[in-house]
Symmetry: D2
Subunit: 375 residues, 4 copies
């Protein structure tokens, strides 16, 4: 069955439009924004070409903002949990997520060497919005993660500025999410093909609660040889070389759900991301910063500081559909990132090829896994 | 001010009866059982004397049971969190406490080499009680901790049997808690003096919520030279030797509270136990199993497996009084254990001296810290 | 290419004999015992049939012992690290593994309700062997893990006794490892088929160091619907029902390597097991105790207590081949467990069907993944 | 016994010059720089007075740099471990410290809202130094920690710039360490008195290996009422108010040692910092970011990326003297910070009083704890 609304939502095909088989039922947008309230914004910086000159470019980078409760995100923290499958990366603010159980603002993703700029700019943004910073200290520990785009981008030129952070935050919206070479994902490489931003979602059955789990990835990990799509060893069947042959990239995964989960349950969700990457063939290489964060948009007001709260809590015994949704949404979000990303030429004329759609279809067909009717 | 009810509750003096100054306000019993519903039972095994013959004795050991919700403990799990300050010890069942956020039965404490017997006996007890084991697997991961009593006890003789576990469980009750050479604490050594079981509690102010935090310790850690009581270097002022000179013991601390805390907040509580041990002069030596578990008796029914729950939750911003109570109750429980324990002679006629009460008073007086009116 | 020695080593076919395609190069035995020094022993208890009567049977259970350095395992600890992907299970002794970096004896695996018996029996075994227990406390924290066999076995009858532990330990040997319905794996169920013990190994290339990574699993997890073999959705293609439909089982994975890894590096290895399970389709359900431990047989004498050691240490930058080997060996060990296990009828005449070999071949062929020449 | 060299080293008295009794034997400088190779640099920014105007000042802040191997710190990583006693704070780069076991450059400490600037500036510094950044990605995850100075400082004005980072790094040196209102500690408050930077060290006995443990703290935590010095309740005996009454500050502790410890052993050291804070009366309040990192200067070249290393490793059984040294050095470093810090007036004319030296002596004398001969 073709899914027309997906074709409308994105101008380019997404993985399931190509006939890649996935398990489970996606939400209407098949995106993290299927979780009501979640907004995503990108600031994409593409400038210059040719030889790299540090500080001048070429620039192929950006910032992506995920706002759990839209513009209320800094006023109404969400329960959250995080997990590091391989810690060769940065996700600031996690000591407080772990301790408090709360994510107190947006999750930002950028390149490795711009984490600091983005972090302080989020504070600045927050301060400019005025509001309850009377206490002064409750807003100070932004969550900012990264992957490394130094093959295509002048990463040591520090081209992300506070105005890009502002743009990502202020342009955030619900609805379909641009994927591929956008925002923090602009210059990324994934399994030897062009990577970037991808997203997907799953809706559990009515008896499972009808909850939504959405994943958004900044996808920059893996070797071509390891790439599996729908269990098929696609990476071995598509020849060609990549400017990055080793497993030195990273992947940041942001999970959102409207299921009423407590912090320790969200940590459980985050830990299931690894299973989704396992399906893709990942070995979580030494150089890979595989860092995951999960939050729940349930329980508005959970972070109030007086009285006694009574947050909704899903029993552990009812979490299996969410675990399944997490694995499936992660898997599809990665494929979506690769399907959406287009071939890019960056610094020093390095070119990273996009995942060739027809080749993928050919290989899936060879192994009896192509859903032909999708096109 | 003397505290007459404490004198009545225990037949022997407790630390504050000796004039040791403590901060904060204890509950009526100054015991973990001030947390409503919590019950404690001991099985004490003292048998034989003279030369050690493995399997025959002498025996100086036992089992202590802490039941969070009394005889309902296995039917109505409590939220819980745990922490290992130094992992040279065993606390079974913690992988599930960490994952689920629940403690699903009693906490048992015994000697190091009887953990297995006690663990399986708890399952056996549970099975005999019939009840909701229809599913079969939900009751299988008891929490059992230990410290090592091999100086006084024939620890390799495995003298703890399932009947002792049964006795500790069935004799558990609310009210004042026997301390010193009882239950799992029977053969323990602490800071070079006789150790064992100790307990204490704190009640937060009305504006702090009026919650109770109780601590129960099985106290077997530390060197005499490091011992501080109320900040006074008592261990250096009381001469004499101990059969254990190095820091090879351990301490298990069980925290109970009626404050409505979620699992990740209870873990925060458990992590504050270390601060209480810091006040006592501990360095948490390499050989010391310093393992702590905290649970909340709030939220009956929190572990239901259907629908959506709505557990009460204290804001993080209101936790400081509980942190303070934890540090203070831990500190006093350790001193109570040492004050209550009496001189014991065990295997191979090894003798461990009790903390000499008058000497402690003398040293506290010397440093201007004795509360004279206590006696 | 057929692998004759594998056919000789085991009397039944193993997964790759069936034509299941795997990545990487196995060691000579394709077993954890390819890591020199590692020995494995089983005690299998099969007794009675018909209606369950608690305490009488039927019995379908056992104990498996993995000895890192054979009979020297308790005298020469190995560096180790562990990880809990989902903590609905028990692995005793892990607080000390985490703290010290050492595994100080065998790893034992049994059923859920016999962990205690096995634990104390290991201490007893150790004590009977005499040896350096002069200090008394260094041998006290055995590592014992479990999965639940209550569908087929009278798990509440506590049929594992110390003699079975003794048998598993004393019968341990190098060479090929019996798989399937043996030892701790006797009564297990995996992905809706009969599960049990499985093993596999990988040898890294010469430039990768030529190190061996071996995995041994006690495999009791998963739903049929999720089962993937070699990326193929086998579980959906083979109809039929199982006495266990939900994801309430567990899997214990033991990793051995001769690569010179430090404790924190072994923890990294353990965390990669999840990626192997991801390839198999696991969602790590709420009821699943997914606990993994990794040790290195390099560095004999690393646990000496005097002087300063100088353990060999592989650079982090050289770990990728070991990560890959871990993922691959885990994946194959699970399939080996299912391929080796035979249909079993247990308590109350419950029957669990073995994985039907010809059906698996049929499905793999359908998806172009069968290696035809294997038979 | 007076310690003349300490008086010479610092122009102001330090804690032990006031007669505060401490346990253990300090190194020659009683500073983290007693660990050979460790260098410390400060950039102190004090500007303006009167009413706060965001972006203009007044400014009372700065940056402190701790270089484990001096100017070789970014070329020769050190083994490291970290611990969060209470995660209401930021320490970037810890995911990689945890994963790799290495600290790959300096530890920087600043105010909460300048962490980002400092982080990226460290990368910039590293890039400008040229060197082995060929690979591009190995230098990207600086460790930067913070505490909050918003009472005295225009923290939302972002006054720390890359030139201050450069100054702290380039001015780093061995020898005595300026304490109190310097560097990152410039605007800090501790236990209701002026806080800031403090340091101390301990040397273990010859039989303990003669190793040095040094601590450096940026001290901004605690309530006056909780303050204990040498076990004496100093905070209750010195009246007066503070601009900060609650426990909303933080403390960063950096531990250095020349003992050959592996990463997991350094984590053990970091976890002992809590015991030192326990002695000071800390309850580790909800608002406190209590984050600790420990590194070892032993094993130069440990991070080589080829071959097989053989780092020196101290047995766990020999760590107790280091645990003791850690507790003692932490305790003294905090007192040193408070003794060194001078009364400061900052934004909006808020004034924080210095710890009154004579009052401290008076209280210690009252409790029989003053070492009179020190002056």
């Amino acid at each position: 069955m073709a899914i027309p609304h997906l074709l409308r939502a994105a101008e380019r095909p997404r993985a399931r439009n190509l006939g890649v088989p996935f398990d489970g039922t996606p939400g209407p947008l098949d995106a993290i924004t299927d979780v009501r309230g979640v907004e995503v914004g990108h600031s994409t910086i593409i400038r210059g070409k040719g030889a790299l000159k540090v500080g001048e470019g070429p620039v192929r980078t950006g910032v992506t903002a995920i706002l759990p409760r839209g513009q209320q995100s800094d006023r109404d923290p969400v329960f959250a949990g995080w997990f590091s499958q391989n810690g060769n990366g940065e996700m600031t603010g996690t000591a407080w997520v772990e301790e408090s159980g709360f994510l107190e603002g947006p999750v930002m993703i950028t390149n490795t060497h711009s984490v600091g700029t983005v972090r302080d700019a989020v504070i600045s943004w927050r301060v400019r919005r005025g509001a309850p910073d009377q206490t002064g200290y409750w807003w100070s520990l932004p969550v900012v993660a990264e992957t490394w785009d130094g093959e295509l981008n002048d990463v040591n030129g520090f081209h992300v500025k506070s105005e890009h952070v502002e743009e990502a935050l202020s342009s955030a919206r619900s609805g379909s999410v641009p994927e591929g070479n956008v925002g923090g994902g602009t210059g990324m490489i994934c399994n030897g093909f062009k990577g970037g931003i991808g997203t997907a979602s799953r809706k559990t059955s009515e008896e499972g609660g009808g909850y939504v789990v959405g994943a958004l990835v900044q996808c920059n990990y893996g070797r071509r040889v390891d790439l599996r799509i729908a269990g098929v060893p696609v990476g071995r069947e598509i020849t060609g070389r990549s400017p990055r042959e080793d497993d030195s990239g990273s992947i940041i995964v942001v999970l959102a759900t409207d299921a009423p989960l407590l912090p320790h349950q969200l940590k459980r969700l985050a830990r299931r991301v690894t299973l989704g990457l396992g399906r893709m063939g990942s070995i979580s290489g030494n150089g890979s910063g595989d860092l995951f964060i999960a939050f729940s948009t349930a329980n508005p007001g959970a972070a109030k500081t007086t009285g006694v709260g009574s947050p909704a809590m899903l029993p552990n015994d009812r979490m299996n559909p969410l675990f399944e949704a997490t694995v499936q949404a992660t898997e599809e979000a990665v494929v979506n990132a690769m399907v959406a990303a287009e071939t890019m030429t960056g610094a020093n004329d390095v070119t990273v090829q996009a995942l060739p759609h027809e080749e993928v279809r050919r290989v899936l067909r060879k192994y009896g896994r192509l859903i032909e009717s999708q096109r």
